[in-house]
């Protein structure tokens, strides 16, 4: 590994982690990792679900602190300052407020960084400066500068709770950048961004690199941002298994074995699927019209301000027919109404005009809980779908009423299908995000619904996860279920669906 003395002294930051384990865990979460970051360089830390990427990122940025969050042996260095840890009580203490001003971290869930007590984007940006006692005229200058740098200039008066996924990600980056860190760690920054959001983020990273910031991207996809990095570090099982240039590593076994997704169809089957036999329709949307207005809470957006002006129609006279055994993919940019469309399938949202027909029955007036016997929906955010204390309880919820004595077997079978049979007693919140999505998928599969509606199922899945998803989807279609999935990943949609439709202007058209 290129980690000589000269390099260390020029580096913005470096870490030598002999081991790090969380309090109460016997096994080390990280071991034998040596990394350093030079100013103005982009490093990608790649690895599958549970490989330790987020733990490493949080440790570098002071979100996890040696001694406080776990036991660390090794050293962390920032510029000329070096802290040595041997796991004893004499170890140095990290002040997270001081440390994070030099190493910024943007978590996977960008919303987590928002203070929630500020009313607009400019004030949210200023929050970190206020806490450091920066004089107001200086704050106003810095807020304007960082808003410009991160493409938020037009949004400074907006309520942070009302931003789109891409805008929220840029705000989270801006909140970390405003403290002027030498190193910035981005955890899965591209997940769930559409093409416009992704290119906005790439420009933002390019600007930070030009300004001399060392940027570290943690990702389970070798995506376009990761491919532009100067250096890759591949993590597997909490340790660095390979370290080098993307050119050297992208064809190697380490990347594949670590479960990293190679963008460009490694997980999809080649070509398009053969057309399914023409079976009867299991889901029909007829002339659906829907818009969010006063009194209609928007799913997932949190409580909006009272007296929200009525919004424009999201869906207009929309028709869709899904047949048994058919896999249909719907694509479109963020905010096009894809999730809104899916929520009509199981009655979580009701159309303002038009009808939803499930297996020949109009579901108007039928409670969502009864429609659930025939329609299963995978939510966009797995955490919104999971609420139980253990993985097994999660899959078993409501299953007995549906399957009677066979509920236990069905739960085990669904967990096995997504590779979580060994984690039955784990707490859903403690699973890596990839496995949370698979668990949410298992809760849908266990019910064996006639219609399966998947909202961005590929987001956050590593390579084994994508394979399990694909297996589950084709398996369900083969036993006669209709599958409709919403995704912004057009390549995945083309490789894994019989038909691909675009949601555009509130309507569907064939692609």
């Amino acid at each position: 590994m290129a980690d000589g003395g000269a390099l260390v002294s020029a580096a913005s930051a470096s870490a030598r982690i002999r081991s790090f384990s969380f309090h109460g865990d016997a096994a080390a979460a990280l071991r034998d990792i040596r990394i350093s970051f030079l100013p103005g360089t982009l490093t990608a830390v790649l690895g599958g679900s549970g490989s330790g990427k987020s733990t490493l990122g949080k440790l570098l940025a002071g979100w996890l602190r040696p001694g406080h969050s776990g036991v660390m042996r090794g050293s962390l260095a920032l510029g000329a300052e070096r802290l040595d840890f041997d796991g004893g009580s004499g170890d140095p203490r990290i002040n997270p407020a001081v440390w994070s001003a030099r190493v910024g971290y943007v978590p996977q869930d960008a919303a987590a960084i928002i203070s929630t007590v500020r009313s607009n984007v400019a004030e949210e940006l200023a929050f970190g400066l206020e806490n450091r006692g920066v004089p107001r005229p200086e704050m106003i200058r810095q807020v304007a500068r960082v808003a410009e740098q991160t493409g938020l200039s037009g949004l400074t008066e907006r309520d942070p709770a009302e931003l789109s996924g891409g805008e929220l990600r840029r705000l989270a980056v801006a909140c970390a950048v405003i403290a002027g860190p030498e190193v910035l760690v981005l955890d899965e920054p591209m997940a769930s961004l559409d093409a416009a959001g992704a290119s906005g983020l790439r420009n933002l990273v390019a600007g930070l690199l030009d300004a001399g910031t060392a940027v570290v991207v943690l990702s389970q996809r070798a995506d376009v941002l990761a491919r532009s990095a100067g250096r890759w570090i591949i993590l597997d099982g909490g340790t660095a298994v390979a370290d080098g240039s993307p050119a050297d590593l992208q064809e190697g076994a380490a990347l594949r074995d670590a479960g990293v997704v190679q963008e460009g169809g490694a997980a999809g089957m080649p070509g398009t699927l053969p057309a399914p036999p023409a079976l009867p329709a299991v889901l029909e949307l007829r002339g659906i019209g829907f818009g969010y207005g006063a009194g209609t809470p928007r799913g997932g957006a949190g409580p909006g301000p009272a007296g929200d002006p009525a919004r424009a129609a999201v869906l207009r006279d929309l028709d869709l027919t899904l047949r048994a055994g058919e896999i249909v993919a719907i694509t479109g940019p963020n905010g096009a109404g894809k999730s809104t469309l899916l929520r009509h399938a199981n009655g979580l949202l009701r159309p303002q005009t038009g009808d939803v027909v499930v297996a020949g029955t109009n579901i108007a007036g039928v409670p969502a809980g009864r429609i659930a016997a025939r329609v299963g929906v995978l939510f966009q955010q797995p955490r919104d779908q999971l609420f139980e204390r253990t993985v097994l309880r999660e899959v078993s919820f409501g299953l007995r009423r549906l399957a009677g004595a066979g509920a236990g077997d069905r739960a085990q079978e669904a967990l096995a299908a997504v590779g979580l049979a060994g984690a039955a007693q784990a707490h859903p919140a403690e699973l890596p995000s990839s496995q949370q999505r698979l668990l949410a998928l298992a809760t849908v599969l266990a019910r064996r619904p006639a219609v399966i509606a998947l909202d961005e199922p590929t987001v956050g899945l590593d390579r084994p996860g994508l394979e399990r998803l694909q297996h589950a989807v084709t398996g369900a279609a083969a036993r006669g279920a209709g599958v409709v999935m919403v995704t912004h990943d057009l390549a995945y949609a083309r490789a894994n669906a019989h038909r691909v439709l675009a949601l555009d202007g509130g309507n569907l058209r064939e692609l």
Binding site: A61, V117, G128, L129, E130, G376, Q385, F397
Partner: protein
């Protein structure tokens, strides 16, 4: 109407103090009605009344049982079943306590549903209240909407897996029982990550802070606040000086 958050807070607290000191059910009812009216004007009547119902219903029930049935000082017996006696005095006392509490609860709910939390945090910071304290206060105020949002998500997740929530109170109660544990666990889990994020943004730093947001505090509102505080203090003093009413149980 742009009320400084401290003006709104002072008005709500002083009205509550005066109502409590006056101990007159007629005044309490009038204040409660006024609060409900103001809530309607601010467009938050439904939320204020719903929250007040959740808080007050069990209280009214216990007042009725405790004082309506077992008021020891009661003389005018209206009905009697064994040790339980319904007395006019007991009912009167329950009415007085109930309306007084209702007035105070409505006033404070009106304040918390109409105040701009960012304004309040700014106002408190400007008065050198420790930021941790004002953050706790602000978080408490946004807790109710945050809980409502999370409950909605949990309900949707459960409905998507076959939970049928009927219209009847029993069905709703059964659903609420299923949602309570996930709600609390979810909030606790959120708090952990948010604490790390706040730390990273310098929230735990000691030393002086500055404020980006600026608030208007017109002199008229300062005078109003001073007058309201004086009025409340006067009401308390007056209350202490006049004889204690005979019917206060110790």
């Amino acid at each position: 109407m742009s009320l400084h958050p401290l003006t709104a807070l002072t008005a709500a607290c002083c009205a509550a103090v005066v109502t409590t000191a006056a101990a007159s059910w007629q005044l309490s009812v009038a204040v409660a009605l006024a609060a409900a009216l103001l809530a309607a004007r601010a467009g938050v009547a439904a939320r204020v009344l719903a929250a007040a119902g959740v808080i007050l219903a069990p209280l009214f029930l216990s007042l009725l049982v405790l004082h309506g049935l077992f008021f020891l000082e009661g003389h005018t017996v209206l009905a009697q079943w064994g040790p339980a006696r319904v007395t006019a005095e007991g009912l009167g006392f329950a009415l007085e306590l109930g309306t007084r509490t209702a007035a105070c609860v409505l006033l404070l709910l009106l304040f918390s549903f109409t105040v701009s939390v960012p304004d309040l945090v700014t106002a408190l910071a400007a008065r050198r209240i420790p930021p941790q304290l004002s953050f706790v206060l602000a978080s408490t105020l946004i807790l109710v909407p945050a809980m409502a949002g999370r409950l909605e998500k949990i309900r949707q997740a459960q409905e998507a897996r076959g939970l049928v929530v009927g219209r009847g109170p029993l069905s709703r109660l059964a659903a609420a029982r299923l949602q309570a544990v996930p709600l609390v666990l979810g909030l606790v889990e959120d708090a952990g990550l948010r604490a790390q994020a706040l730390d990273a943004r310098g929230f735990g730093l000691p030393g002086p802070r500055t404020s980006y947001r600026q608030l208007q505090d017109p002199p008229a509102q300062r005078i109003f606040r001073a007058a309201a505080l004086l009025l409340a203090a006067a009401a308390v003093v007056l209350r202490l000086m006049t004889a204690w009413p005979t019917a206060v149980p110790s």
